[in-house]
């Protein structure tokens, strides 16, 4: 069995964000980058399946991005990926989900993967499109938003998270692509020996020029901080003073403290 896991490196969402010079993306200076959280669930599920099948499947990790992306790739390898492909693209952020998915599909086309795992969306862009588009371009069955996954004899059973705490259960035959939601599993921390082993694993480099180039179907016209609606009162400063002021406000504005 051949497994592909698609990952993205994104900034820590606790960061402060400001637009870049030409207002097409956020300024990447000062940001700390990590693996997209949803993709960690994808990597973990792939590794768990490999373990279930006695280590037989080969897990390839693919990611598109600038040089720093290698750090996220190395983490996925340390979690249990076997090899990786880095599509080196410094202009990745100017490509829309269609172009990103087309690059992944173009790479995957000749590789005949049986199963592809992706996160359900990226934390920075959040379009939730790339995985499904890859599946459609490759003609694979696809299920999104997984909070449950099991594999048995060429068929996968998935639990999709729906609204209001309900889950939808479906069966798909391989080859298939699934997108992973938070809570699907508990992503493992790479151990030191596995981090050391990962250093020896192959990371092949590809350039966008070696893959099919599609024209964009959507474009970012501008990126900007949302207009502040004002919000409410902001209490800053010393803790004791904040506590007293909040007590006063709650007594005045609500009935909960009488």
């Amino acid at each position: 069995m051949k497994i592909l896991v698609c990952i993205k490196q994104v900034p820590d969402m606790e960061s402060r964000f400001r637009p870049n010079g030409d207002k097409t993306w956020y300024d990447e200076g000062d940001l700390a980058f990590r693996m997209n959280e949803y993709d960690e669930y994808a990597v973990e599920q792939a590794v768990q399946l490999k373990e279930q099948l006695g280590g037989e499947p080969e897990i390839t990790v693919v990611s598109i991005g600038p040089e720093r992306t290698v750090e996220a790739i190395k983490k996925a390898l340390a979690m249990g990926g076997d090899r990786a492909v880095h599509i080196r693209d410094d202009r990745y952020y100017q490509k829309d989900p269609w172009q990103i998915a087309s690059m992944i599909a173009s790479y995957a086309k000749g590789e005949n993967f049986d199963l592809i795992f992706t996160g359900m969306q990226s934390q920075d862009r959040g379009s939730a499109q790339v995985g499904v588009i890859v599946a459609e371009l490759l003609g694979l069955s696809c299920a999104t938003t997984l909070v449950g996954f099991s594999y048995d004899g060429g068929t996968i059973t998935v639990k999709r998270e729906l609204e209001g705490g309900i889950k939808g259960v479906a069966k798909l035959k391989l080859p298939a692509l699934v997108t992973c939601q938070l809570g699907l599993n508990t992503p493992r921390y790479p151990t030191l020996p596995n981090i050391m082993k990962a250093k020896k694993k192959e990371i092949a480099a590809l350039t966008p020029a070696e893959l099919s180039g599609e024209a964009e179907l959507t474009a970012t016209a501008a990126i900007y901080p949302p207009a502040k609606k004002g919000g409410g009162l902001v209490l800053e400063g010393e803790i004791g003073v904040q506590v007293d002021r909040l007590m006063g406000i709650l007594k005045e504005k609500t009935a909960v403290l009488r």
Binding site: M120, A128, V132, K171, L246, I249
Partner: protein, 305 residues
């Protein structure tokens, strides 16, 4: 401009979010027609053409079949845009339709901006305006962002749709309902919720102590539940419980849209967060800029006195 609106059913019932599609089309100034894979027993109140495909035949949700039905309606209507709610139904189906039509998709639109679409980025800390470059486009709208102005009314003109075959690579098995045991937050008057900002499982009792001192219940955001720090029955948000207490205290919760959707109807919202720019500050009546683990114990001590 003409919009094809894709309504949504679950277990034979029309979902209310379907009406937000019409509200969005009105805001766009677009003529609209609707497609529902649903039931004649529960049709949308809508003055206009509704393509009805029988849910009993085409299943609760089967992406392969629903895609074919949408494409049939597109063929008949030649719309400029096809609009879904950005729900587990919409985000699954919309890209499939977009690929089939080689159309650009704009996901989770929160507002309109002079003909362009506004979407959130980076946990709503930034906004982007996105413009489709394809003649026809696929759009998904954020649930709750385009609410109907009045009670929906109207009588649809029905036109039935059928597929010639119903083969699909995906088999829908059924639903699993949420576990009913645990706390019912929907009736709580005071809720104190723990978010990722509490740092670790061992810190959750500190938040629970504040809930206790105020005579309220403990709530939680999704990451805290996923991490196993708090049981799912305490989860507030789209995939947890929707609450409307008199007081909601959000401790270390940045304010992902799914969480806000579950608690923004609270009468009074206090947020405690060290990040002054956290999206929760936008809806909080009071934002205390502080480390949760320093502020909450001090506040609890004062409340208990």
């Amino acid at each position: 401009m003409k919009a094809l609106l894709i309504g949504e059913y679950r277990q034979g019932k029309l979902l209310d979010t379907t009406y937000e599609l019409k509200a969005f089309a009105d805001r766009l100034g677009a003529d609209s027609v609707m497609l529902v894979v649903g039931s004649e027993a529960d049709l949308p109140k809508y003055d206009g053409k509704v393509y009805l495909a029988d849910a009993a035949t085409y299943g609760e949700y089967n992406p392969d079949l629903h895609k074919q039905l949408v494409l049939q309606a597109v063929e008949k209507e030649n719309p400029d845009c096809i609009v879904f709610v950005h729900s587990s139904y919409g985000w699954d189906l919309a890209p499939r339709v977009a690929v089939a039509l080689r159309a650009g998709q704009v996901s989770e639109i929160v507002a309109l901006n002079e003909g362009a679409y506004e979407v959130n980025a980076c946990n709503a800390k930034l906004r982007r305006t996105v413009t489709p470059k394809s003649g026809r486009c696929v759009l998904t709208i954020q649930a709750g962002a385009f609410s109907p102005s009045g009670e929906p009314q109207g009588t649809p003109q029905l036109e039935k749709l059928e597929l010639s075959g119903t083969a699909s690579a995906i088999e829908f098995v059924g639903y699993e309902a949420a576990e009913q045991k645990g706390v019912d937050l929907s009736k709580a008057e005071i809720i104190v919720s723990a978010g990722r900002g509490v740092g670790k499982k061992d810190n959750v009792p500190v938040i629970a102590a504040l809930a206790n001192a105020l005579g309220g219940e403990l709530g939680a955001s999704r990451p805290v539940v996923d991490a196993g720090w708090v049981d799912h029955s305490h989860q507030v948000g789209t995939t947890g419980q929707t609450v409307s207490p008199k007081l909601y205290v959000a401790c270390g919760i940045s304010g992902a849209i799914q969480h806000l959707a579950g608690m923004k109807r609270a009468d009074f919202i206090v947020a405690i967060n060290k990040d002054k720019d956290a999206p929760i500050g936008e809806i909080a009546d009071v934002l205390v800029v502080a480390d949760v683990m320093q502020f909450v114990p001090a506040f609890t001590a004062k409340c208990a006195r």
